[in-house]
Subunit: 396 residues, 2 copies
């Protein structure tokens, strides 16, 4: 894990993006924005799932007309997504929206861009420049023997061009995204732009995402790799996972990404073995029940649910709470110590009971550590108790 | 994407791992190995999903007794997973298993290890050393003021120690894994060991995995990040995703990881927009049907299913086949060219029809390119046709 890039923070409403703020989780509504109640319901549902900023498309007059009411009643700060028409940007700003996603090049008329920038500046409303491999500006004419530049270069060039329009108008409350479906293209674009901006002394924060990542399974994997590689290099200040699915599927994947890199944790992290021919307990239903229980409590606890003697005790010791099951009995570990041995029918109740104790400790003893996000930088290196090689099970 | 690490290949049956072989996909059965029919059924199901090597646990006499029949009738090469007891290793070898996963330190008695190595060598059967953060050898005693080494160092030390036992017996048909649940720990362990081995001139291939990654969604994300970071650095020769779920859920995630990095593709890759307030067609059901259709055909085709004018045409042009829908009509693209415009009720049939043409072209014109795995090294940089900024839609 590299140290996090030092970026110039912007504020989307009261949510800081960049600087020393935690990586912010975002999503986008899929309702018709003109339908105020449906849109507000979806925003609230996304917020309940840990979505800290929500984007809404404002593609027409009806959507623009709905924005004042939506902004007034929203659960979290909103970004208005604007394409082509400056009027919807102006309407969103006047509705007190918390940020705009807008590419000035796509508004085209410099006078109209100037109007938007003047209004955004007066209101201290940030703008995200959102470059997308699927909608780049036209290439300049190429000579006969000239190859077009690679996609990631075209994306960086587009971002710098868009940026330049805003900077020349004295606007710098900015964040930038460089989305592509192709992971290597997306990763290289963000790497190159971060180097260019840091060198220029304008380290704007980055919104990371894979665009049109696809259906939930493949789209989550693709997003996790692209976003994960960059976050592990210290690049990225806010993330969005774009799935062809109910938007409610997106925030949990964002949180899974952040938890996987020890950047932030929301709700439980479940360590659970894949089961194999060594399995001796009904593990998968138990793991699901354990996750559901601690998800409901919303506490950042790590629970290991392990089904055999090979890795079970080791993993169970490393987690906040663990069970290593075998032959109808299970050993419960709390913070690395064995606390009891129980029968299989008591596994869940014992985990819940010991979980309450772990959570109580978190909240009394050192709540500021337990509930806080992990600090940026190197992953914590848990001090592991000395482990014994498990004794032979050849008698089985 | 870094160039792939040059490793010393081993053969698990007829499947090459390492060297210039494609990254191999693996999984593990969760049946009782002693139940021959269930185990063979699960092996066949995994093979149908693109699993190229399957591991089976051999934890006891009954499992060992089932191995001859399982090996005789298996659909793909098998690795026997052995812990603690040399007898099951000997039995698996004598059953003609294609490889062993075995840590000599965990067998302990050097004479027994020697017996296994002699037999494996005579049969040219490779061994995977599988180090796992949850079952490391005990730490040596520490002085009062001495801190235990970080986990990734302990894992590398354990691998080198296990390796040394086998190398001293003249055995080098090896691959190595260094699994942990913690992504930064796992990534650092593989990076460090690859540097150590390459320097020593013994570049054994690596089996990558996150251990006990958890339930499907979070486990897939965690595995994708850990495995994805390493593959993007050129590290890794075979991969396994460990989920607390039906093992059939694992190979598709492996393939999603490989496709995301343009390393290999199996079946379709679906580019699909997340839908937003701009959506104008019923996109998600269509994307699911398109995926199901091309999944059934099993062809490596990239299909974009896009719902609006902003990124739709751009993404649809870049894919092998694409549809950019809007207002009840959709434009179909084939290999970057518009081929027709259809009504919403014809979307699926038009995609299927044009898909047949793309697949026919793949199989006639240049089947060796279309069906082959992507070459290792840099991601291909598709030459994108010059794109126009879409015309204003402000009249909507």
């Amino acid at each position: 894990m590299s140290e996090r890039r030092k970026t110039k923070p912007v504020f989307v409403g009261d949510v800081q993006v960049g600087g020393d703020a935690p990586i912010v989780v975002q999503s986008m509504t899929a309702t018709d924005t003109a339908d105020v109640e449906s849109t507000l319901n979806q925003i609230a549902e996304l917020a309940d799932l840990g979505c800290e900023i929500v984007r809404v498309a404002v593609p027409d007059k009806e959507a623009a007309a709905a924005m004042p009411e939506i902004v007034k009643r929203t659960a979290v700060p909103l970004m208005a997504d604007i394409h082509f028409d400056y009027r919807w940007a102006m309407a969103a700003l006047k509705a007190n929206v918390h940020g705009l996603r807008l590419n000035p090049g796509n508004i085209r008329d410099p006078d109209k861009v100037r109007m938007i920038v003047k209004e955004a500046k007066a209101r201290e409303t940030p703008i995200r420049i959102g470059v997308n491999a699927g909608s780049l500006p036209p290439l300049k004419a190429l000579a006969d023997d000239e190859m077009p530049p690679p996609m990631h270069e075209r994306m960086v060039d587009a971002a710098l061009w868009e940026l330049n329009i805003l900077e020349e108008m004295g606007f710098d409350s900015l964040k930038i995204s460089l989305k592509a479906f192709d992971v290597p293209t997306m990763v290289q674009a963000y790497r190159d732009l971060s180097a260019r901006l840091d060198e220029a002394g304008t380290p704007y924060p980055f919104h990371l995402g894979i665009t049109e990542a696809g259906l939930p399974r493949a789209g989550s994997v693709r997003s996790a790799i692209g976003i994960g590689i960059l976050l592990s290099e210290g690049i990225g200040d806010t993330i969005r996972v774009s799935l062809a699915a109910d938007p409610k599927e997106e925030p949990p994947v964002c949180w899974d990404i952040l938890a996987s890199l020890n950047l932030r944790q929301r709700g439980p992290t479940i360590v659970a073995c894949p089961t194999c021919g060594r399995i001796e307990i009904e593990l998968i239903p138990l793991a699901n029940k354990v996750e559901a229980h601690f998800q409901k409590l919303g506490k950042p606890i790590t629970v290991a649910v392990m089904g055999c003697v090979v890795n079970g005790p080791g993993e169970a010791k490393m987690a906040d709470l663990g069970i290593a099951g075998g032959k109808g009995r299970g050993v419960i570990f709390r913070k690395g110590e064995i606390v009891k041995t129980v029968n299989e029918d008591e596994f869940l109740s014992a985990i819940i009971e010991e979980g309450d104790k772990v959570i109580a400790e978190m909240e009394n003893g050192n709540s500021d550590i337990a509930d806080a996000d992990f600090p940026p930088g190197d992953a914590p290196d848990p001090v592991i108790p000395i482990q014994e090689v498990p004794s032979s099970t050849s008698e089985r």
